[in-house]
């Protein structure tokens, strides 16, 4: 019996990033985790918060199969659970978790 690991780059990872661009795309890629099957359209992944000059970094997680549509944003420290969807222009506050399978459009 032989186990064979294919090179991840030859079989595409079923993650879709910014098919129509992003402004900005990610400012801190090394704090971002994107799970398999996630799709991110023109949305921003920003891991920093600069609340009146008090700058801090937090991690961001986009769960498996999650979707971020145009203009949606996760603030520093937020996360999307499996198969959740953020519709256009939805803003998720820092530390908030979008539950598994849910679809949100919250224009606060």
């Amino acid at each position: 019996m032989t186990a064979c690991f294919f090179d991840p780059h030859t079989i595409q990872d079923r993650v879709l990033l910014y098919p129509t661009g992003g402004d900005p795309m990610m400012t801190e890629p090394d704090l971002v985790t994107i799970k398999e099957g996630a799709a991110i359209d023109e949305a921003s992944l920003i891991c920093h918060i600069n609340s009146r000059g008090h700058f801090a970094l937090n991690e961001l997680t986009v769960g498996a199969g999650a979707t971020m549509r145009s203009g949606s944003r996760l603030l520093s420290g937020a996360s999307l659970e499996k198969y959740s969807t953020l519709l256009e222009h939805t803003l998720v506050f820092g530390g908030d978790v979008v539950p598994e399978g849910s679809t949100m459009q919250v224009r606060v």
Binding site: L17, C47, G53, V108
Partner: protein, 421 residues
């Protein structure tokens, strides 16, 4: 007639007298084109060409902005609040300032002096705004639609990026005032007459309706029913507390546990990076021409095929040259873009290493300073490549973009396929 153009090189002897003048004109143009190519393929000229680009990126913005400030002060004077002028001198003045200093880049000078720092305050003051000290300006700049005279910013204000501040709309021109120690976060919209109180926080995506006042110390966010939403649970900040922010403390008061970079150093660094990037982005053009000349020198040196011996170019010569030139372009532009991304990724790891979660205030760690240096480098090097678009725009949506973000440290899950025989 089209055929005459196409086959001028071959059938010149067979065409009528009337067409001869046209053919000569065509040949002159073709030869001018050949001469331009010949100019670019001389190695000693590449330095001049790149130097021109460097100067274009570093000196020209200052000349333009100086002229714009002088014109604004001498011709326009001060723009007055009131209903929006639709004709006459007042309308002209408003239009003129908007044309003189359009968009949010201060004619490209903001990028050279550092978008966040005191030089930006000085320029805004020269353009008519009232600006306090220690202001942290946004990286993206602010587009005031020419209404610099109707913009007032207090001490120690912090701006987030991509906000829209409009002292003028279709109806009126009205001052936008931002109080000391306030924060205007990213993607906010402040309409005419907005007043942000002392130490108020205008959070991410806030919409301030026309004439809205944010009370001192309040916290708002987003937009609902035409206005921002106040965060009720948030305790009111002590509005009388001192306003000095960590940035001001570190950058202007030099109270930080690391060596704070001076504004002169930022200016030198940014200018060099901007000039270098401009020259780098201009490089593939002469490089492709020189490469083509290296592969097939004959059309450039001698021109004139077809046994005429006159030294001029015929259509066939141009096509022969293009046949080599187009693949050369593809190669040099590709290598250039690849080099830009390599500069981006390697400078990230050299300047920042792997980021860590937690507070990184300006007066605590040197992270923000190093991040700003990296941002300057990365944005200049990988934006405006290939006619204005950024390198990443060429690979968006593709697996190469995943590779790029992975190389910057992103954890993007990989689907491993295991086949067991």
């Amino acid at each position: 007639m089209l055929n005459t153009f196409f086959y001028a090189g071959i059938f010149e002897d067979d065409i009528g007298f009337d067409d001869i003048a046209l053919v000569h004109k065509y040949h002159n143009r073709l030869n001018a084109y050949r001469d331009a190519i010949r100019w670019f393929t001389r190695y000693d000229r590449i330095g001049v060409y790149l130097l021109i680009r460097f100067i274009q990126a570093t000196l020209v913005p200052f000349l333009e902005l100086t002229a714009a400030i002088l014109l604004k002060r001498l011709v326009v004077g001060t723009i007055q609040p009131g209903s929006r002028p639709t004709s006459g001198r007042a309308a002209f003045d408003l239009w003129l300032v908007k044309e003189l200093v359009p968009g949010n880049s201060l004619r490209g000078v903001a990028n050279l002096v550092g978008t966040h720092y005191e030089m930006v305050s000085i320029i805004y003051r020269l353009l008519g705004a009232k600006v306090g000290k220690n202001v942290y300006w946004p990286g993206s700049g602010i587009d005031l639609g020419g209404c610099f005279d109707l913009f007032e910013v207090g001490d120690d204000v912090t701006f987030g990026s991509r906000s829209i501040i409009m002292p003028a709309d279709g109806f009126e021109l009205s001052k936008v005032v931002i109080g000391a120690g306030a924060m205007v976060a990213d993607r906010c919209v402040l309409l005419p007459g907005t007043i942000v109180g002392r130490r108020a926080t205008v959070g991410s995506g806030s919409l301030a309706a026309r004439g809205f006042t944010f009370p001192p110390g309040s916290t708002y966010v987003g937009s609902r029913n035409g206005g921002a939403v106040e965060l009720q649970g948030k305790a009111k900040d002590n509005q009388d507390a001192p306003t000095l922010a960590p940035f001001g403390r570190a950058f202007y008061c030099k109270e930080a546990p690391y060596r704070v970079i001076t504004q002169a150093e930022i200016f030198i660094f940014n200018t060099f990076v901007a000039g270098f990037s401009k020259a780098l982005h201009a490089f593939p053009l002469p490089a492709a021409l020189m490469l083509s000349a290296l592969v097939d020198r004959a059309p450039i040196e001698y021109g004139g095929g077809g046994g005429g011996g006159g030294g001029g170019w015929y259509t066939a010569d141009a096509y022969r040259f293009l046949l080599v030139l187009i693949p050369s372009f593809a190669l040099t532009f590709f290598l250039n873009d690849l080099f830009c991304l390599m500069v981006d990724v390697s400078s990230k790891w050299i300047l920042l290493g792997r980021r860590t979660v937690g507070p990184h205030a300006w007066d605590q760690t040197s992270y923000c300073q190093r991040w700003q240096l990296y941002l300057t480098l990365s944005l200049n090097v990988r934006s405006k490549v290939g006619g204005g678009r950024g390198v990443l725009d060429f690979i968006r949506g593709s697996g190469y973009l995943l590779t790029y973000f992975r190389s910057l440290g992103a954890k993007i899950e990989v689907r491993r396929v295991i086949i067991i025989f």
